[in-house]
């Protein structure tokens, strides 16, 4: 009767002396898995512009219809997105846009921290998507 009690005390003492496994969130973070589907980002081409050719496939495939694209052509006749709007507050992070993209321009990144007080601020433009690249080296 006494020995199990002492065993229990020994176990808790060894736990007491071991290092806590707590991850103290704002200071310490866990990197999400490689295939984590977080906030989207744009891949850049050699000029530092988006690789997106504004084909509109992502807009079509998006189940929550949160992508809106206006297409334009430059002097060489290359298509580019005049406006590319992605409403992250409506996005369900399914990753279909990434799958649909024929030029590998849009990807779902590993960033998951984004808090705003207003829904409108969740509307991402081309520049915002390019900026998100910084979170996904």
């Amino acid at each position: 009767m006494i020995i199990p009690l002492l065993k229990g005390l020994g176990l808790t003492l060894s736990r007491f002396l071991s290092k806590p496994i707590t991850i103290q969130y704002p200071e310490e973070k866990v990197l999400p898995a490689k295939r984590w589907r977080g906030i989207q980002y744009f891949e850049m081409d050699e000029h530092g512009k988006t690789k997106c050719v504004a084909c509109g496939l992502c807009m079509v495939v998006c189940p929550s219809q949160c992508i809106y694209i206006e297409t334009a052509e430059d002097e060489q006749g290359n298509r580019y997105p005049l406006t590319y709007e992605l409403d992250v507050s409506r996005c369900i992070f399914c990753g279909f846009c990434e799958e649909a993209c024929p030029v590998k321009a849009i990807f779902l990144g590993r960033n998951y921290e984004w808090v705003e007080g207003d829904r409108k601020t969740f509307l991402m433009t081309t520049e915002d998507l390019l900026k998100q690249k910084a979170f996904n080296p």
């Binding site: 009690l5 229990g8 005390l9 176990l11 808790t12 003492l13 736990r15 007491f16 002396l17 071991s18 806590p20 496994i21 707590t22 103290q24």
Partner: protein, 339 residues
């Protein structure tokens, strides 16, 4: 003039002991959360100040600003009185605990004895007040007009009274050995190294005292009166704000006094482990021993599950009480045979 100095000495000692005790109580809550946290492989409070050291004050401020509710169906007078009884009983015990020997104030021949009161019936006083503390819990649960509170206080009454019998009997062995109820005398008899401590002469009584003491102060595994899982906090369910805080403080103060009595009776009070270490002040030895007890109380709380109510009663009456009686009988026999 002499009288005035005496008065000043008493007041200063009272204030220092009271403030020290309250500070200890505050930090005991912090220590408990910290130790329990580490036992569960997490950190415990660490946001409020370095290592969460300001946590007790944050808790105090929070408790102070909460709404002070008195239930409509409660017995108002008793409801307000109950936490006061609890805290008074818990703190009063510390008046007779000798936490150090004595020292002379440098430059004068004024001897300061490090205890508030050195009464002949110290042990009797302690157990009298310890029993008084039960009234706080019993009345608190009863007067709040809540069924959980009532069940909690009924359990408290049954449990504490049955364990008090064994608690009182377990220390009679020590009284037989030291032939005195005066705590300073009991400590003096244990002087001259750890081999003279009562724990070696009364090991069974020591273990029984710890077990009964845990039941007496309602610590896990005997925390029947406030069994969170079944009674939703038991006797203090209707208490909020400072009244709850006072119950909380009383519980921890009671824990400290229980530990202090154990140190005094069994571990040689302020006496050093070996006489060669006598240069370290007695107060520090006392605090170190007390800390060991506090750590053990918290440690075992993080280890053992709560007993069932009938198990507690069975354990108290059928195991602890006979054991204390046997221990008492053997002690008395040996002492009388040795003359």
């Amino acid at each position: 003039m002499q009288l005035l100095f005496l008065l000043i000495e008493i007041i200063v000692k009272c204030v220092v002991v009271f403030a020290g005790l309250m500070l200890c109580v505050a930090y005991l809550t912090w220590l408990e959360r910290k130790v329990l946290g580490h036992i569960q492989v997490r950190y415990g409070p660490n946001r409020c100040g370095p290592f969460g050291l300001l946590q007790p004050f944050a808790d105090g401020i929070k408790a102070f600003f909460k709404e002070d509710l008195v239930p409509g169906r409660s017995d108002k007078t008793v409801f307000v009185l109950a936490p006061m009884i609890s805290i008074v009983a818990a703190i009063s015990i510390f008046a007779v605990i000798p936490f150090g020997n004595q020292f002379t104030i440098p430059g004068t021949d004024w001897v300061v004895k490090l205890r508030l009161a050195d009464v002949d019936i110290g042990l009797l006083f302690i157990f009298g007040f310890a029993s008084l503390g039960e009234y706080g819990i019993v009345l608190g649960g009863w007067s709040s007009g809540n069924k959980y509170g009532l069940i909690g206080s009924l359990r408290a009454a049954a449990q504490m009274i049955s364990y008090e019998v064994a608690l009182g009997l377990s220390i009679i062995g020590v009284i037989i050995l030291s032939q005195s109820l005066r705590l300073t005398e009991i400590v003096h008899l244990q002087g001259g190294g750890f081999w003279n401590w009562n724990i070696w002469y009364q090991p069974v009584a020591f273990i029984l005292y710890i077990i009964c003491g845990l039941a007496e102060i309602n610590r896990t595994p005997f925390d029947m009166p406030e069994a969170e899982a079944e009674l939703a906090c038991g006797f203090n369910i209707e208490y909020s704000s400072m009244k709850f805080a006072i119950f909380f403080l009383a519980e921890y103060a009671h824990m400290i006094t229980m530990g202090a009595v154990a140190v005094t009776l069994f571990l040689g009070g302020w006496q050093p482990i070996i006489p060669q270490l006598g240069f370290i002040p007695g107060v520090i030895w006392f605090c170190m021993k007390l800390f060991a007890f506090m750590f053990f109380f918290i440690w075992q709380r993080g280890t053992f599950p709560r007993l069932r109510y009938d198990q507690i009663m069975k354990f108290g009456w059928k195991i602890l009480l006979p054991l204390t009686l046997v221990n008492l009988l053997i002690t008395g026999l040996i002492v009388s045979l040795r003359g």
